[in-house]
């Protein structure tokens, strides 16, 4: 190792109109290290990396690559300087093979064949060196998300990148895939590559990085050695105040049974069974968390209970059977039974993005007689009520006349939560409550869910964030391939056990043979994917 940083940024500033996205940012990244950049949405992480990759030009400031001052006017220059970028949303040609994607834009000569042959050889080498195995002849569209990401990394390495930037790389990965990615990054680090990891997940920072820089509102608030910091300190640096990372909640005092589900089945439009006969009960004052990798039937479970999909089986709400298909199974009928629903996708379902905040605060409850004035709607009353709700749920800005799309993700979610929680439901269905939500808002949202529980509501929580499931739930059910693999007490289980259940593996695999687990997981996800394809 030398003392010359692989990348050094000095005094980088960038403004978009009145918004100062980056303010006087300086950073040094040593070669052969993994450097994390952490910050809330809109803190300026992506802008900074876009400057480094030549998408934007900084208003002020200098970039040094390996001690040499470098101008990066476009991404070609960035590639020449040895910088590779793996975007959050992959930039791959879906109907090309892996090999074709890797050489795309880096072909040599007029004929493809020599380039392809050369790339094949390089790919084989890299697969061995870094555990980056992908079938070079597979079509991108047939690959799992984790594999597609490997292709992106291969693309960068094939262009001889020494510096790799990864933007929120684990957002789309399963826990096992994320583990594999971290092993790849570890291998790359030992080969002397420099890696910049952009993320908002504290756990990842703690797990893999050597140093970490924290950004807040366009400024670099701190750069620290990972070994010398803690998640609590990082969270405080990110948000600017003390944040409770663990959910503060008393033990549950479960009451009468609110929801009981027996042999619930859901078949989608293509005739594929998504929920394959599951059963559970939720009682008053209890949060049942459903863990699982996305696409294993949790969404369908929520949707059938919320009245969006139809299914078969026996579902009773406070002892009364509810219809799972037909006219009385829609969202409106569910709301009449005091079932509130915070859907997984707030932009497609929970909100009408073009509607104002006040219009959204009654969405689904708009036929309540209290909003009526003769044949018309009492808009003034709705606006007034919305103002109160937005204040109580700390929605910012607290302007009910603003369209939903003009709020940040966290504030959009607060609008949905305010609407559903203030109905005081007996049962709250809540899916991915903190997806795309800032840390500061996550704390608030978790508190509100717990508060509703303590008031005696039953809560069904679906989340792909294992941390969230572990800290919020009073009981955990793990779903895999449309079935419940088992129930666990969060106090007596750990991420490893849940991770195995999420991969469809029961029992203890002896001394953690992760390679076998990995293979099994890949096989299972491929099966699920293949099933989905038909």
């Amino acid at each position: 190792m030398t003392d010359t940083p692989a990348i050094e940024l000095k005094g980088i500033s960038k403004a978009f109109g009145p918004v100062q996205a980056n303010k006087d940012i300086s950073i040094r990244v040593m070669p052969g290290t993994i450097h994390g950049i952490i910050g809330e949405n809109g803190a300026g992480k992506s802008t900074l990396m876009s400057i480094l990759y030549g998408f934007y030009r900084a208003d002020r400031g200098e970039i040094f690559i390996s001690g040499k001052k470098t101008e990066i006017p476009d991404s070609q220059a960035a590639i020449r300087a040895g910088i590779g970028m793996v975007f959050q949303h992959f930039k791959l040609v879906e109907n090309f093979t892996v090999l074709e994607n890797v050489i795309l834009g880096a072909e040599e000569g007029r004929l493809l064949r020599p380039s392809l042959a050369k790339a094949r050889k390089t790919l084989r080498q890299m697969a061995e060196e870094y555990e980056l195995n992908v079938d070079p002849d597979a079509l991108i569209e047939d690959l799992s998300v984790g594999h597609q990401q490997r292709v992106e990394i291969l693309k960068a390495l094939y262009r001889q990148a020494d510096i790799l930037i990864l933007d929120e790389p684990t957002g789309v990965l399963t826990p096992a895939e994320a583990d594999h990615l971290f092993r790849i990054l570890d291998n790359l680090r030992s080969e002397g590559k420099t890696i910049i990891l952009i993320t908002h997940k504290l756990r990842e920072i703690m797990e893999i990085t050597d140093t970490v820089s924290v950004m807040r509102r366009g400024e670099m608030t701190a750069t620290v050695k990972t070994a010398e910091t803690s998640p609590e300190e990082l969270a405080e640096l990110m948000v600017g105040r003390k944040v409770l990372l663990r959910v503060d909640k008393k033990p549950a005092i479960p009451g009468e049974t609110v929801l009981s589900v027996e042999d619930l089945r859901v078949t989608d439009d293509d005739g594929v069974e998504r929920v394959k006969g599951i059963g559970f009960e939720i009682r008053r004052g209890e949060i049942l968390g459903i863990a699982g990798v996305a696409g294993n039937g949790q969404s369908e479970l929520m949707q059938v209970l919320g009245g969006i999909l139809s299914g078969t089986g026996r579902v009773r709400m406070l002892g009364e059977e509810i219809a799972l298909s037909g006219a009385r199974s829609d969202g409106r009928s569910r709301r009449r039974k005091s079932i509130a629903h915070v859907p997984e996708d707030r932009q497609r379902e929970g909100l009408i993005m073009e509607y104002t905040a006040w219009e959204n605060t009654i969405f689904g409850y708009h036929d309540d007689p209290k909003w009526r004035r003769g044949p018309l709607m009492n808009n003034a009353a709705i606006v007034e009520e919305a103002e109160g709700k937005m204040q109580r749920f700390d929605v910012r800005p607290p302007n009910p006349r603003l369209a939903a799309r003009n709020f940040s993700g966290g504030n959009q979610q607060k609008i949905v939560l305010a609407r559903e929680i203030e109905q005081n439901p007996d049962l709250l269905l809540v899916g991915q409550p903190t997806r795309g939500v800032d840390i500061g808002a996550i704390e608030f949202i978790h508190q509100e869910i717990v508060r509703l529980r303590d008031q005696g509501a039953a809560i069904l929580l679906v989340s792909v964030e294992l941390d969230e499931i572990m800290s919020l739930s009073d009981r955990i059910a793990v779903m895999f391939d449309g079935r419940i693999m088992g129930f666990r007490d969060p106090a007596q289980t750990d991420e490893r056990e849940l991770g195995l259940l999420m991969a469809g593996i029961e029992g203890e695999p002896g001394e953690a043979d992760w390679k076998a687990v990995d293979r099994q997981l890949e096989q299972k996800t491929a099966e699920v994917a293949a099933e989905k394809g038909h």
Binding site: G307, I308, G331, R332, E349, I352, P375, L376, M377
Partner: protein, 364 residues
């Protein structure tokens, strides 16, 4: 944050688009060897400067308001109803039946009856495409346009045989009885000394059209149904989440839309022709699409756009009468207006947004 102030979106963009359309039209008129300034002066004098010109403009505008509203209402539920022609045709049938077979004592009662008849028949004609869309997924654009042809054929059949008075050579029904005749603007606004709106067909239906604008605005932005219609239009998945039945919204929206389109027949059939004739829609069903497009599907915008198209229609007739500019040229001008205000909207919008962004930056 919005990219530019609302007034620029609502007023400035259509104005600039219109100006561009006017410039291009002027070039076309120049190219065929006529003087565009004279042509425009002629159009202006023949419409806006004369009360009879107004009488024609408002008559056409009445048609366009109804068909424009019809397209707008459907569009808020993201349904593209291009069957205004057919629904208006059936509306005409409703008007004729109401006027011919019910002995009305006075026009004020007759107009209520004919409005109900027109709306009911227009709505009925929209019902089948709607139910096919809601239950079977047959695309409403295809079905509504098909229904236009069926309506035309049906009217043809009726006016050649069933409803034609015996011995008449004219493909039309008998004249409606005297008490159903609607007061024209001339009847309403002329005094003993001055005769206003001489010979112009504008009649009391215009005020019904204004009421319809108000009613549609109330429906869309002040009622639960309107709330659900717009929600369904913005996000079908969102509507399903809220428990709004898509079938119900599609059907009820199309019934309202078809009813509005049908009501234009009150203007042409009862107000002007005073009998049911072939081609009583005068193409207004299709113009309604342009009017809705230009009026941004807002009832007030539809009103303004309908007035503009009324001006173009009447202006075109004046041009054809007094110059050698062919009648077809007016179709070219109308097409240019539609092109610029509808299809090329972004051509004006995007540069204008940049201007506003730049101005805001300077202020900041």
């Amino acid at each position: 944050m919005d990219r530019m102030p609302a007034w620029a979106d609502v007023v400035l963009i259509p104005l600039i688009s219109l100006l561009l359309a006017a410039i291009l039209s002027a070039l076309v008129i120049l190219a065929i060897g006529e003087n565009p300034v004279e042509a425009f002066a002629l159009m202006w004098n023949g419409t806006v400067m004369k009360s009879s010109g107004w009488g024609y403009m408002l008559y056409y505008a009445t048609n366009f308001i109804f068909t424009g509203l019809a397209v707008s209402v459907a569009f808020h539920a993201r349904l593209f109803n291009i069957g205004g022609e057919g629904q208006a045709t059936l509306g005409g049938l409703g008007v004729a039946l109401a006027c011919l077979y019910i002995p009305w004592p006075h026009w004020s009662l007759a107009i209520i009856g004919s409005c109900i008849g027109a709306a009911a028949f227009g709505a009925a004609w929209a019902f089948l495409p709607a139910i096919l869309q809601a239950k079977r997924g047959s695309h409403i654009v295809i079905t509504t346009i098909m229904f236009n042809f069926i309506a035309a054929a049906l009217l043809n059949y009726l006016l050649v045989g069933v409803m034609k008075p015996v011995g008449s050579m004219d493909t039309a029904t008998a004249k409606f009885p005297e008490p159903t005749h609607l007061p024209t603007f001339r009847d309403m606004f002329s005094t003993a000394e001055t005769i206003m709106f001489r010979g112009a067909p504008a009649n009391v239906t215009f005020f019904v059209a204004l009421l319809a604008c108000l009613a549609v605005w109330l429906l869309l932005w002040r009622t639960r149904l309107g709330y659900e219609i717009r929600a369904q239009g913005f996000s079908e998945s969102g509507a399903r989440y809220a428990g709004i039945s898509p079938t119900w919204i599609i059907v009820v929206t199309m019934l309202i839309s078809g009813g509005l389109a049908g009501m234009m027949a009150v203007n042409t059939t009862q107000g002007e022709a005073e009998r049911l004739i072939l081609n009583m829609t005068e193409g207004a069903g299709f113009i309604g699409i342009a009017v809705a497009l230009m009026g941004r599907n807002h009832p007030f915008g539809v009103l303004l756009a309908a007035l503009l198209f009324g001006f173009l229609y009447q202006g075109g007739a004046v041009l054809a009468l007094w110059t050698s500019i062919p009648r077809e040229l007016i179709v070219v001008i109308q097409a240019l207006v539609i092109l610029f205000t509808g299809a090329l909207d972004n051509m004006v919008r995007i540069p204008l947004e940049r201007v506003f962004m730049a101005m805001r930056k300077r202020e900041a």
